[in-house]
């Protein structure tokens, strides 16, 4: 046997958008009829990408399309990508939770997947009983768990509470116990989702250490999905970047992280007017984020229109943080004014984003003559997200509680 642990061939997965369950009887019949005639499924169109910001006519979305890659035994592979790039879908298929729409995965060795810690924990049962139950759900035999019981209890640090129902545990203890069970699973292939985003810093370090031990020390294959680039660089030697359901990059971890960070600074959001107003108004808005941290640029392309001529006006764009408060307002110089002569006019506004912390942001747009007379005002009209950190070597976490912008500062001695 070759030393390929996992081989993914032409893997695709389609999801249906919208509400499942309404009108599906007729659709099911139609599908079934197409199948018995040997025709293609009329509702699956190949080629649609998973572009979440724009609307599409088809309500089938390809969460993964035509993915091919191989993973060698003993590799620690980081799977990275934006939200909605298909990481979770890939993990779900690898963990056999859901089946692919087309393609196949072959491999050898027992797979243990950790998409969540503490699956199947029963609040009424004691810690000990839950270790056995959870272990069995993850695929361990009873005697295997018995052999490792002391090790698991020790790792979780809950020896004193072993015979207490887990519903009386603190959330930290609960998570520690759950991770401890999973970490002691013996398997050739370990699949880990971002379960490490739990517990305190000390425990996170312990988990990362345990995973490093698994991949480097024991020579097992590890697939690790994370948004934490440091963790990926620490743990993995290879990386796979997924972009909108397609394979963006396969290679060593450092290049993969670099590819991810350079490709990702573009997010686009668009808004089209459907309100049919006669007074001056925005008829379309589009925002693009470009450049690299810490100096990024937000470009807003917008169009305005009105039915008849109106006095000149000016625009204001406000940027709001994840807590809903306005961080700053962009008010371009009044002259040139926005003119209204009954025709649609296009404009572009560039806003510098210096030292913005990673996270989601919203934009509101205002159009008017003075503070007292506004033509149009649309709240939360566009959304963009910043993924990269403004400082590469900062270990202190970014949080809106400590401000949306980092201060450019130096310590002088």
């Amino acid at each position: 046997m070759s030393n390929i642990a996992i081989k993914v061939e032409n893997l695709s997965k389609a999801y249906q958008l919208g509400q499942i369950g309404t009108g599906t009887v007729s659709r099911d019949l139609e599908r079934w009829f197409a199948r018995i005639r040997g025709k293609e499924d009329p509702f699956l169109k190949i080629g649609e990408t998973n572009e979440q910001h724009t609307r599409s006519t088809s309500d089938i979305v390809w969460s993964l399309s035509a993915i091919n890659f191989e993973i060698e035994q003993g590799d620690a592979v980081g799977i990275i990508g934006r939200n909605g790039a298909g990481k979770s879908t890939l993990l779900k298929i690898l963990s056999k939770i859901t089946a692919p729409t087309t393609g196949k995965i072959s491999g050898h060795g027992r797979i243990a997947s950790l998409l969540e810690v503490g699956t199947g924990f029963h609040p009424e049962l004691s810690g000990r009983e839950n270790i056995f139950l959870n272990g069995a759900i993850l695929g361990m035999r009873k005697k295997e768990i018995k052999r490792k019981l002391d090790e698991i209890v020790d790792f979780a640090g809950i020896a004193r509470y072993l015979d207490t129902p887990v519903k009386r545990y603190s959330s930290g203890m609960y998570v520690r116990l759950a991770f401890a069970v999973a970490a002691h699973l013996e398997s050739e292939i370990l699949i880990v989702d971002e379960v490490l985003a739990v517990g305190d810093a000390e425990f996170q370090k312990k988990c990362l250490g345990k995973m490093g031990e698994v991949s480097k020390g024991e020579g097992r294959t590890v697939l690790f999905v994370s948004h934490n680039m440091d963790a990926v660089l620490n743990l993995c030697n290879n990386g796979i970047v997924l972009e909108q359901g397609k394979l963006g990059f396969v290679g060593d971890a450092t290049s993969a992280v670099r590819h991810y960070q350079s490709s990702g600074s573009n997010t686009v959001d668009t808004w089209l007017d459907t309100r049919k107003l006669s007074r001056p108004h925005f008829s379309s808005l589009k925002c693009t984020v470009s450049g690299n941290q810490p100096a990024m640029t937000l470009t807003i392309d917008f169009k305005t229109n009105s039915e008849t001529a109106y006095p000149n006006a000016f625009v204001v764009f406000g940027i709001k943080g994840s807590l809903g408060n306005t961080i700053m307002e962009a008010i371009p110089k009044l002259d040139p004014f926005i003119k209204f002569n009954g025709q649609e006019m296009s404009y572009k506004c560039e806003i510098k984003l210096n030292g913005f912390i990673p996270g989601p942001y919203a934009i509101y747009a205002w159009l008017g003559v003075s503070e007292a007379e506004n033509y149009d005002w649309i709240d939360d009209v566009l959304h963009f997200e910043i993924f990269d950190a403004p400082m590469a070597d900062r270990t202190f976490p970014y949080s809106p509680r400590t401000g949306y912008l980092i201060a450019d500062c130096t310590l002088i001695t």
Partner: protein
């Protein structure tokens, strides 16, 4: 753990008849632990504890005795009324519990199924076995009733058909499992069925010989008795009563018919369950 490097493959569709029994066997410890969980968590933080297993059949028997036995005066085949009802209720409850719990297995376990893979069949199997434990406990109550009436000189005697008891239990379990799997597979897409099941089981009880003997139904409605006879559960309950209490309608033809229909339903259940199991996470 076995260190053999088994090869595996993940493909879009399942073989419909592949039960993956080998895999189920490998997860047998999980089955045992799930049954234990159901049993232990049932009476945790209750005062009466496992006594609750007795209370439901006991009170149902008392109420049936008053309403159907005394008030409506439905025949009980000359058996002591409480004994007659308890036999029916104990057996029926086992089937009904297997059916209702299995029919919501995908919905109830969606959080677990969505995060971890194990042979899905383990869950319905654990339900059937958990209920078997419960059935065993309730059977003890039934035996206590039998002993009480026997010492008080009531006229009944177990017949040779008591030897068929294991077969009756297995058939009830498989019938509940099969029907439950069919419904569970369909409820992942169409939730309507989960509403149907809650009162459907209740209605089905009246189409089964739980509160009346088959002989009475045949006597009173000779034209429509076939409706009750085609229900496989009727034969099972009649055989159960005939075995333990010596009264009831028993025929080999009916038993063969029930056995065959049970296996057909079970097979159908397995096919639809297998078809749904791989992708239900996306729709449930």
């Amino acid at each position: 753990m076995n260190k053999t490097q088994e090869n595996w493959e993940i493909v879009p569709a399942n073989n419909l008849f592949d039960l993956k029994l080998g895999e189920v066997w490998a997860y047998r410890d999980l089955l045992v632990l799930l049954v234990r969980r159901d049993f232990v968590s049932f009476y945790k933080q209750t005062i009466l504890g496992p006594l609750w297993f007795f209370i439901q059949p006991l009170f149902t028997t008392i109420i049936f005795t008053f309403i159907f036995g005394n008030l409506a005066g439905i025949s009980t085949d000359k058996l002591p009324k409480p004994l007659f009802y308890m036999a029916g209720i104990t057996a029926w409850n086992y089937f009904a519990d297997c059916l209702t719990k299995t029919s919501s297995v995908f919905k109830d376990n969606a959080p677990i199924f969505g995060k971890v893979y194990f042979p899905r069949l383990i869950m319905p199997l654990s339900i059937v076995v958990s209920n078997l434990v419960r059935f065993g406990v309730q059977l003890v109550l039934f035996f206590i009733f039998m002993a009480y009436y026997a010492t008080n000189g009531a006229h009944f005697e177990p017949s040779w058909a008591i030897l068929l008891f294991p077969l009756v239990v297995v058939l009830m379990a498989l019938l509940g499992l099969g029907l439950g799997m069919i419904i569970s597979a369909m409820t992942t897409k169409y939730r309507d069925l989960s509403f149907l099941i809650s009162f459907g089981v209740q209605l089905l009880m009246y189409a089964t010989t739980v509160i009346y003997p088959l002989s009475a139904a045949v006597e009173k409605y000779p034209k429509y008795a076939w409706l009750i006879k085609i229900n496989p559960m009727t034969t099972l309950i009649e055989t159960f009563r005939y075995g333990f209490l010596g009264k009831g309608t028993f025929s080999w033809d009916a038993l063969s018919y029930t056995t065959i229909s049970t296996f057909v339903i079970l097979l159908l259940g397995i096919v639809v369950f297998n078809k749904v199991e791989k992708n239900f996470v996306d729709t449930v």
